[in-house]
Amino acid sequence: MQSSSPNTRTLQEREQLALQIRRDIVRMVHGVQSGHPGGSLGCVEYFVNLYFGHLRYSLPFDMAGNGEDLFFLSNGHISPVWYATLARAGFFDVAELATFRKINSRLQGHPTTHEGLPGVRVASGSLGQGLSVACGAALAKKMAKDTTLVYALTGDGELQEGQIWEAALFAAHHNLDNLIVTVDYNGQQIDGPVDKVMSLKNLAQKWEAFGWQVLHCPQGNSMNAVDQMLLAAKAASGQALPVVVLMETAMGAGVDFMMGSHKWHGVAPNDAQLQQALDQLQSTTTDY
């Protein structure tokens, strides 16, 4: 089957894009005074590397995506970083970012296919479900002898959902070695540190015990490190086992007063805080 190509940018260009996308995130969340800036900011390097370095896709967006790499966001609340990345990658007009969470928008609080937003293949938000859908998509590729890959991102708090572990069993049992899952391992969730709310204990051993290949990326907010991480994950695919990467990030990365705290999981900045954030994030192209 014919494969699409990645929209590859240099690491330097990706750094510029990351700054702009961080501006987009804080402006979107500020603009509607709701949304989830913390996890969004923490995953910017992942999204930029994925969409501007690794993911093989074509536009206009095609729902089935046969012959393309697919991406599923299981932790749907970090929609701002996904929407901003999709817009900057040309899936839809960047001006539409201004409609985030507002009435009659395609940019719903949590991602959905319902309004036909290009780039989204399933609704997510109720946690723990996206990984199962990614498994189904990976299985479909196996059935169709389509050698492209399926990527999925989950939160770490999300791993407390039982369905994740049903999917983990399934992917290993069905040898879904075309599936690359990344865990946003920021150690924070709404009520506080994951270790205090419901500890995941030895997470790497858990995945290994479920029959997965486990990779680590201790620097999930380094553009170069995440690029290397995705290269390693792709190299690890096709070896009979599904691949999971534990990507250590800082919630709120890039904005000093948000960084590393669960308090910015789902809180919007006020006017002064927005300015303070934007002062740290120099515009690199143009704001929407």
Binding site: A64, G65, T113, H114, V122, A137, A138, E166, L169
Partner: protein, 323 residues
């Protein structure tokens, strides 16, 4: 008088779930996009032949129904037509949020196929006898909800779903019942089957209660009452045109379903009738209670879901019409 007697001859008795299994084997040959998913109940869902003949399109999910619904959504995204199968309890209540978000809201072409629905599951008892599934499924926007009455109709509905785009719930069961539908009767989603015309009272029924309503119509005929029997195999979208036409003629109705009186066909019809054509209605359904262990026959009798209960309800509604 147009007699119902002898109108529905049958030579065979079979379970509705076997109609599903046979249709799946046929679909395996006819449509390369059809995939069967199962959660450790291959034999109960009668999918052994499909598994044997199309192993590459048979997906064993283990006892993990939530994941199965998500996997089905993923397969549908790629253009496959997944039939996700298990017992009705685990196909609806257990995985409601997965169906709601990953399938219904996401408009995935997934067929949720559920056996062992209702009291006729029998001895396993109330943990497995879901009587709320039709209500749960019909509340979801865009979900098609079907409850078939015999082997042949289940076979036809299973085939029809492959040609229909969109999320759907197909409910069938375990009891062995007369096969009274002609094998070649086409299944039209959303179009009720008028099985027998009558003028005094309408019997609106679905699933296993269709046969009980045919028996009831025979008993009513003996009492000089002409009953119209309509099989509302599709709960959603509801064929309100056929319902209205029947009520215009009879002026009263009994609604019969193997389900809670809340949420399913009774509520669907009451909702329509109250607004568009206020008419006396009586209900033959489970009255807001759980089931229990017993043979299917004993349970249908204890919970008031037999032909005799339909006859009693018909007399009650006829009296209300007259008053």
């Amino acid at each position: 008088m147009n007699s119902i007697k002898g109108k529905f001859p049958f030579t065979d008795k079979k379970d509705t779930r076997s109609g599903f299994g046979a249709a799946m084997t046929a679909l395996g040959a006819a449509n390369p996009k059809v995939v069967a998913l199962c959660a450790d109940l291959t034999g109960s869902l009668k999918l052994n032949d499909f598994e044997k003949q199309y192993p590459e399109r048979f997906v064993q999910c283990g006892i993990a129904e939530a994941n199965m619904m998500g996997v089905a959504a993923g397969l549908a995204t790629a253009g496959y037509i997944p039939y996700a199968t298990t017992f009705a309890n685990f196909a609806t209540g257990r995985v409601y949020d997965q169906i709601r978000q990953s399938i219904a809201y996401s408009d995935k072409n997934v067929k949720i196929c559920a056996s062992h629905a209702g009291l006729t599951l029998g001895e396993d008892g109330a943990t497995h006898q879901i009587l709320e599934d039709l209500g749960l499924m019909r509340m979801l926007p865009g979900m098609t909800v079907i409850n078939t009455c015999d082997y042949n109709q289940t076979y036809a509905a299973t085939l029809a779903l492959a040609e229909h785009h969109g999320p759907a719930y197909l409910r069938f069961g375990r009891p062995v019942l007369p096969v009274f539908y002609p094998k070649d009767r086409p299944f039209v989603i959303g179009k009720a089957d008028v099985l027998h015309e009558g003028v005094d009272v309408s019997l609106f029924c679905t699933g296993h209660m269709v046969w009980e309503c045919i028996l009831a119509a025979e008993l009513l005929e003996d009492a000089g009452i002409s009953a119209e029997v309509i099989n509302l195999h599709t709960i959603k979208p509801l064929d309100t045109k056929t319902i209205a036409a029947s009520l215009n003629k009879t002026g009263c109705a009994v609604v019969a379903e193997e389900h809670q009186v809340n949420g399913g066909l009774c509520d669907s019809i009451a909702h329509y009738v109250a607004k568009h054509r206020p008419t006396p209605l009586e209900y033959v359904a489970v009255q807001d209670s759980f089931g229990e262990s017993g043979t299917p026959d004993q349970l249908m009798e204890k919970y008031g879901l037999k032909a005799a209960n339909v006859v009693t309800a018909a007399h009650q509604v006829l009296a209300r019409k007259a008053s």
